[in-house]
Amino acid sequence: MANGAANFVDQVRENRIWRSIFRSGTGDSNLRRALFVQQNVFLHLFSVKARRRTIAFSATWYLGALTFGTFLILVITGILLMLYYHPSVPQAYSDMKDLQYVVSSGVFLRNLHRWSAHAMVFLVFAHMFKVFYRGAYRPPREFNWVIGVVLLLVTLLLSYTGYLLPWDQLAYWAVTVGSNIASAVPLMGHKIRFLLLGGTAVNANALLRFYVLHCVILPFAAVLFIAVHFWRIRKDGGIYAGEASSEVTGK
């Protein structure tokens, strides 16, 4: 039975149409496994091999992977939430109530998005400190560290812009507190705040701007920098595996 299923899978994968899509084909050889990664436009960001030491749990605690996991969950739940959301006042708040009482699993959807967002912020920080204490930021990985700092800021902005969208008291005043800080910037503080809010106070214009930032501009930036971040892992010699053995370094 199991053999029959395996044969069927093999037949599908040797099929002409399948092979026209996935050129690497089937087989158990490491060459095929390498081609599977190398010949895929998305997967070829990664190297085809990794040092065994780097995949041990203690090396990374998988914090980077988990951060990416929360990002995936946020994209999926975020798109679904967009189907039920209007970025206008006070419709935005009614949509929250609709999620609660009208939409099937609406509360669950919103909960998952909210808690994943908190988890992502926490995991980004945890990932940063883990990388620091391992010394994995050192050359040749220094620029990937900088990209990581950019991704930290993008994550904070994503979370902050999303905070306003429910348009409840919590959202409104948290963003008011935050945007008041922007006006403390010397010389052009008020201009920055005006640009951010589309007005002099948090209002319907601010909601629309935060919505566009949250759903279009910042996710796009995040995907872009995540791609570079992953690609640089390969270009910088793979995930940092710790100090090399003494026989080579001569220490």
């Binding site: 091999k49 006042v89 930021y137 800021l153 800080i181």
Partner: protein
């Protein structure tokens, strides 16, 4: 000819004749060249499936959390009615706590700006890359500098009455002094490892400590008018 070399450097493309290659590695070099033959695994399936499993465990945890606890939703936003206290999201509450002591241009612009700058430049300082123990060289001179910096900084915090940032600073400074008083050759365990910690370790640990303390205070211990409250009394 007492100083004659005992090797000859040649350029040769014939791998059968001269199959061994020698790499000359200078002292200050990047870890990239410190490579050795070691066991490797295929990214597909080994790494991808491990990563997928890790993400699945996380997803299960988040789904369970979402089933048990609802995301907060308060009344419709009302610009006429300011809640007390009005709090930013939790990851900004450390900054909001500082905003309580310093003018907005310091707490809201200068400090976060300096933190981001400091994070970006970390890997561009050779002192960080070499990672030598802070107290292993020039100890007397470094102790003097350390004393001046810590005292000036603590006086600054005391003038603004930022006790919540002063206490973690003093705790980290105490551990730094403990490390300075430790000889890594003789000591064992955590004291020996403390003695070998570089400056960057101490600064980052101090930053992490402040971050956690300030965020926790802002989140749990601040009530109306940003006064002290106990979280279980709220």
């Amino acid at each position: 000819m007492s100083d004659s070399k005992d090797f000859v450097a040649v350029v040769d493309s014939d791998a059968k004749k001269t199959p061994k290659r020698i790499a000359f590695i200078t002292r200050r070099t990047s870890p990239q060249v410190r490579v050795r033959d070691e066991e490797r695994v295929m990214t597909y399936p080994e790494v991808f499936f491990r990563t997928a499993a890790a993400i699945e465990v996380l997803a299960i945890g988040l789904v369970v959390t979402s089933l048990l606890w609802n995301a907060p939703l308060e009344q419709l936003a009302d610009p006429m009615h300011t809640p007390n206290p009005a709090k930013a999201p939790w990851y900004f509450l450390g900054l909001q706590e500082l905003l309580h002591y310093f003018p907005p241009v310091v707490a809201g612009v200068l400090i976060p700006g300096l933190v981001v700058m400091a994070l970006i430049v970390i890997p561009y300082f050779n002192i960080n890359i070499q990672g030598e123990g802070l107290w292993l060289r020039n100890k007397a001179k470094r102790l003097r500098t350390f004393a001046v910096v810590v005292i000036v900084f603590c006086v600054f915090l005391a003038i603004f009455e930022v006790w919540v940032a002063l206490v973690p600073t003093l705790i980290v400074a105490a551990f730094m002094l403990l490390a300075a008083q430790t000889d890594p050759q003789i000591a064992t365990g955590y004291r020996a490892s403390l003695a070998r910690k570089p400056l960057s370790f101490w600064i980052m640990t101090w930053f992490l400590f402040e971050l956690v303390v300030l965020t926790a205070i802002g989140t749990f211990f601040r009530g109306p008018g940003w006064s002290w409250v106990l979280p279980w009394r709220a």
